[in-house]
Structures are given as structure tokens and as C-alpha cells.
Amino acid sequence: MTTERSTDSSKKTKKMLNKNQTTNHQPTNQTTNQTTDKATAQPKKQAKTHTRKWNNTTNLKNKKPLLDMRDLCIEFHTHNGVIKAIKNLNITIQEGETLAMVGESGCGKSITAHSIMGLLPSPPATIPKGKIFFEGQDLLTFSDSQMRTIRNAQISMIFQEPMSSLNPTIKIERQIIDAIRSHQDIPKQNAHTRALALLKQVRIPNPEKNMKSYPFQLSGGMQQRVMIAIALSNPSLKLIIADEPTTALDVTIQAQILDILYELKQSHSLSLLLITHDMGVVAQTADRVVVLYAGRKVEEGETASVFDNPSHPYTRGLLQSMPYFHHSSSKRLYAMPGTVPDLRHTERGCPFKNRCTISKDICAVEFPQGTRLNSHHTSYCHSITTLHSLDPKPPSPPPSRVKNQTQNKKPTQNKIKDHIKNQQILKKGPT
């Protein structure tokens, strides 16, 4: 029933777009038209399988890097001293990839995103070191006016709280039209038709009526859809940065929003940088994961590899402390001791050493070099071999959950085999 409805709405969008084409021959319309074609094709396929995945790592090999952060450092100069929020961060986002950045509050996820967009308030923020290459150009050297041609044109951002990111005094119609016209020189009437098409793409029911409303008249889920529509307003878009896009929403709405994001990402062949603290969202949406802790990258790899074989004590602890992975007889969750360190007191060595159960003397002195577990999976821990001999079995879901998913059983078993193989390699010595 649901698929019917969505195809219906996209048919309407197509009709509308065709009408639009007759009046306005612009390349933008062609691209959107293609996208709706793909969008209509997609639900039909998914209806057969009844289960669907948002992440798909197979076609990611040999892609060009779109965004490349090298040795990025971000500091904040405050009255209480210098806060080193990000230290030597290297992150690459490939074309068409969904990269998830995970970590607890205060680990520097949002700051990294803001630095890409050039939104860091300076002062107090400074970037003493590092480069952010976007399609080969260093964004940090750009002037304000140059950044304006990038922002919302080639890189868009979706924020956590749609209510505080939308202007409460302006109707959403004008907010979307403004976003469209800020980068494209098209008449108001055409921008209006395009705004309507965008609202249909993000599945806002009754878009003609809803675009005349103020943000407060819409629910949280609807507001977030409007935010996505604004983010997509420019056809030259290449990268979406979504900063906790579903944290403020209910689970049922969360699934709908992630659905829309995924479909649009596929149809417009965009890259997505997803910032979240929800491991459920990561597991279901991301192709690759970067785990941050206190401004440092502690683990990076393909989603399946990281979840099957978490190779940093922090990632491991994070997964184990979730109720989902809890299936021991005692009714207590695994809880990592302590809290995130205070970034004002810059300490040498690994930032996780005080909470780590397997820390060594060297952890207090130097930050570990990356250890490669496979071609895409790197972990930054001195005790990586100890870690694996401690607990050879990765956390696995309780049997009741797996029972229903028989078709997915095989890959898990293969992963465990791979994992054991990896361990043997590790015991021989790091490669």
C-alpha cells in the first residue's frame, strides 16, 4: 500500500516536472527528472524483498575522494586556556559514499562538520594546522565570498534541530525559494515550481498547502523534510553533511527521514557525511565508519568490519554498553568506567588511557600508530593484539533476534571466519 502511494506521488512529481520543462529549458530540470525516474523504480524493487538496506559497500571501490581532510587541528582559545578540540584528523569521503562519524558528545564531531562548511566562529576557534581538500581545492584557503559559492551549492548541511535552523517568521515557501535563488539566476515563478517539486521529493503531503505555512505549524518530521528540501535546492550539490538529522525525531519518523535521505543520495549520486551517536543509525545506513574520541580518530573501517570486529577498546565498550548486545544472565549492562577527559588539559598519549582496561605504559606517552586489520579497517591502539586474545568473540546479537533473519545468516558466519583469520595474522605480528 505504501509503495503504491509513493509511486503515485512521484508520478505526480514527474508530470509536474514535465510541465516545468516546457516552460523552462534548464539543465536543472533534467537532472531532477532523472532522479524521480530512479525514485519511482526503487520502491518496486524493494517491495519484493520486504527488507531493505541503506548501505551498500560493493560499488565503492576505485572511487575518487571527494573530500579529504589532512592533519586537521582545531583549537578554541578561551579564558580557561586552549581547548584542543580536534587533533591531527585524517578523513576521506569518497564519491557516492555514506561516511558515519560516531562518538560521544564533546568528541568533536560537529566541530569537524562546521569546519568543512567554514562555520566555525573565529575567534575563539582557530585552525593552526591541516587542510580540507574538496575536489582538490583547499577550503581553508577560500575567502568568505568563495565559501559562499560552495555553501548550500556544492556542500549542504542538515542540522539536528530543524525548528531552530528554520526562520520562524518566514513562510517555508520563501525560505526554499530564497535558497534556490541564492545560487541560480532563475525567475521567481520557476523557483516556485522547483520548490514544489522539492517538497514532493521529500514526501511532504499536500505540498501546495504546506508550503504556505510557517515552520511552527509543521511537526518535527515535516520541518526536517523542509530542511532536506533546502539542502537539495541546488543541482550542483555533491556532499550533504547531516549533523544528527534524526536525533530529535521519533523512531517511526526517523526511519522515514533516513529513507528519504538514502533515496535522494542514490538518485542524485551524492556523498553523505552522517554525524550521529546512534549506533543503530550507523549500522543501517553507513558504508564506512569513523569513531572519534576526544578529538582523535580511534578507529576507521567499513561498517560491517567495525561492528563484527571492533578493534579499539572504546568502540568495543561503546557497542557492549548497548542494551541490544546485552545477553548475559546478570541484569546489568556493561558500563565503561569514567567519563570523557577534559580537553583543556592536553595530555600526551592516548586520550582513552584512563578508561581503558588494557592500557600499557606506552599509552601514557604516545598516541598509537594505526594498525591495519584489512584494507579498509584501521585501529589506533597499542594493545590491539591483547584486545583480541582477551575476547575472541565479537559481540553478537541475542539469538532471538537472529532467528527471524535466516537469509542473512551466511555473511555473518563468513565474517566470523574472516575475523578469526585476521586474529591469526595479528598474533604473528602487525603488518
Binding site: M1, T2, R5, Q46, T49, H50, T51, R52, K53, N55, E104, S105, P205, S219, G220, G221, M222, D250, V251, T252, I253, Q254, A255, Q256, L258, H277, D278, M279, G280, V281, V282, A283, Q284, T303, A304, F307, L318, L319, S321, M322, P323, Y324, F325, H326, K331, R332, L333, Y334, A335, M336, T339, V340, P397, S400, R401, V402, Q405, N408, P411, K415
Partner: protein
Amino acid sequence: MNKNTATPPSLLKVQALKTHYTLPSQTIRGKKSLLKAVDDISFSVNKGEIVGIVGESGCGKSTLARTLIRLEQKTGGTILFNGEEISEFKGKQLKQYRKHVQMIFQDPYSSLNPRRTIGDSIKQGLQTHAIAPRAQHNKIVAQLLKEVGLSEIFVNRFPHQLSGGQRQRVCIARALSVQPQLIICDESVSALDVSIQAQILNLLLDLQEQRGLSYIFISHDLSVVEFIADRIIVMYLGKIIESAPADELKTHKLHPYSKALFTSHLLPDPHIARNKPTIRGDVPSAIHPPSGCPFHPRCPVAMDICKTRIPRLREIRPNHYGACHLYN
């Protein structure tokens, strides 16, 4: 649903509870509209039991909690605490009730007075209820802080010097200071990070064991409620639509809404393909709720009868209650 729980005496017994708000009319002579935030809810909490309440935002979870603690006036029904009707409490009796039932709020940033030290905040309850001689208060505060895993040095600190997890511990210590029998946790761990959330959940469970506390645990995080609760109540638009022991609900979800809610929850496992969500759209407006079953416009298996008749909550499996026409 209260029949079976008669053997152990129930601490809190709620019957046909209603909390309605009258909203001002949109025009001068227009009709005033009625918002039924909590509509005809019955359940009970036994001593030492953890009752979890789940539902989407706007389903009346928080209003229910606030009505139970008398921050909101009920419109109808009864709330019996140890067999006594709480809405008739006044003066001393009400003060006593507030001592027995404490609440931990969602946001530890706004629920602590920023101008009071942690010690002062915790001491307030002790002073108001004259728990012990004033001379012993400092000692009790230190003891409470230790119990929730904070060191004694926090006594003289202010809330802004503490992290979110530490503040939530202070809120728990404050709730415990008056030796309550029932604690209502309204989204108490939702604002916390995963690793801190696990610490706080373990702490709540430890305290329950040591002190024989009961909890009403309200959350939108289904995995947390599934883990901590003995009994889970699923709410939708002010009504209970399903209620069952946690283990029973894990394996047999009856109501289409419960099924949809739990399948929408994303599992942290990349090998399990998520189920396609069975419901679409938002929660309908509580001011103009749909006719019949409030869930029928979003229900994937809605029938004709759902549009006209409101299903009643009945026992469908042993000790498992549901409100759905499918099981008639």
C-alpha cells in the same frame, strides 16, 4: 488488567485516569476545543516493579507522569497510592505523598537550580521533610553522593561545573534523599551518551535492589525500556493500546502499532537488514483525534470496524492486554 495483580499489594493503582485540557477557541465566538492528553488509562505498579511506558512524542507519556505526581490536575478517574486517593490530599498529606513519589526529569541541565550548590540542592528535600536532625544533613548528603557514584568534593560545586551524566546522578541523589517508594523517570537517560546511559541504568537497577524501589520508566528508546522494565505499556494518543510483561512483549507483539514501533527501531547490527516500516505519516492531532481506533489512519491492517468503534483494552493472552479489533 488489575485483577491478576491483586496478590502482591499494588503500590500505585490508576483507574480510568483522564487528563483533559480545554484549549481557547480560535475565534471570539468559536467553540473551545478539548485536548485529551491522557484518556481512560488504567494500570498498577507493584512494590519493586519497573513499569516501562513507551510511545511517540505527543502520546501523553509525560502528561501521565505529571498527573501522577500532581503537577497536573486530573479530569477523571482515580489514582490510589497505598490504597488512598491522592487527588484529595491537601497540606500535610500532599507533602507526605510528594515524599513517597519522586521524579527524575529528562534534562539534567534545567532541572537543577544553577545558583545553588549541589549540596544545597540535595539538602532541600531533607530540610523540607525534616528527614533527620539538621546536624546530620551534611553527612547524609555525602552518603547519598557516594551511593550514586560521585565523590564528596561535589558538595560545593555548582551545576555548570558538572557534566550531563554527573548532573543526572545529582538528580537521582536528590530524588533518593527523601527515601521515596516510587520514582518516576521521565526520559531520564535520553539526554545521555551511550556509555554514561549504561552507567546510570546500572545505578538505577542497583538502587532498586538495595532499597526495594519501584520505577515508572518513561522513554522513547525501546531497547532501553525492553532491557530495564518488568512490564511495558505502549501508549498512543493518550490511550494504552498494549500492555504486557517485557519478556512476553519481546516475543509476541499483538497490536500493529507496537509491531511498527519496534520494527522502526534501528538495530545496531549491519548484517540484519531492517524491516520495512509498516506505518507512514505523523501522529494525528490530539485535538481532533480520528474516529474509532485512533491508530486506524496509519494502520496497515485497518478494517471497516476500526473507523467507527474504539477497541477496548482486553486480555488477549494471559496477562497480555491489547486494544485492537483484530483479536475480537
